[in-house]
Symmetry: C2
DNA sequence: GTGCGTGCAAACCGTTTGCAATCGG
DNA sequence: CCGATTGCAAACGGTTTGCACGCAC
């Protein structure tokens, strides 16, 4: 099956290490910036490629969110996320998974077959609640 | 309050007319293409501006979806959508709104305050179910 | 030595914006 | 007439890609 030999490069190790130390569900760009501090000459393309590759191999998860760019998640176990409407930060949510029930209760119009669903929470992070911008 | 006088331009009327005849939750680009058939010289920027403006005025709704680009919805009443994983088409979903309950059952990590949520369904449209690509 | 992986820059795609020209009120 | 609105083209931002070089094996 998997007869293409993956090479163990320095860049791959560094990107993996740096990403594993970040627990903010970073975007590829955020990982790139973080990696550059240790390894300033790394190419943006390499970071993007390595993260996308890891996601395809199922080692990490690529999150699609409504507002922001794609984020990468080290946690593979299914769970929901909350996005801060102030700064875009992402955090995990403790809530039971209701995808199954939700999807079964849904009927798509125009002949659509509903197979699954995506739940995403919106809120405010601790920092943005402190700022007196638009918190009610 | 609203002391800025809006002008009634030909472009505005055409974009509005064309959009109202489309019931596919089109993206701005899709509306642009449709408008161009009637009014070939319209600027892409104008269509994008008019749709964004109408959404800000609350006349239409701008949908943020996880995969695709923003879509525009003529229906203002809250409801869910299903996105075809084959072709990206969007359709309305008949299901009761559970945002309130869901949000209240959710606890954000890292000091996040959960305020609301976004539910989005995934499925297959009639056409894509017919194609023997990757339907199970 | 072979060819996978990298770095670079350019392309990409949907969208937004600066600006001069235009046209609605 | 005056300024809101348009058209154009360029900029934008995040991401992907083509290609020559270099390094892992």
């Amino acid at each position: 099956m998997n007869n293409n030999q993956k090479r163990n490069t320095l860049q791959k190790r560094i990107v993996s290490d740096v990403f594993c130390e970040m627990h903010n569900h970073p975007s590829a760009g955020m990982v790139y910036e973080a990696v550059r501090e240790k390894y300033p000459n790394i190419s943006r393309a390499t970071v993007y490629r390595l993260l996308a590759e890891a996601a395809e191999e199922g080692k990490i998860k690529r999150l699609k969110l409504t507002d922001a760019n794609d984020r990468y998640d080290i946690t593979l176990k299914p769970h929901y996320h909350v996005v801060c409407r102030g700064c875009g930060a992402v955090a995990d949510v403790e809530a039971e998974q209701v995808d199954e029930e939700l999807s079964q209760s849904a009927v798509g119009c125009e002949g659509f077959l509903v197979e699954g669903c995506h739940v995403e929470f919106v809120g405010l992070c601790e920092g943005c609640r402190g700022n007196s911008m638009e918190n009610n």
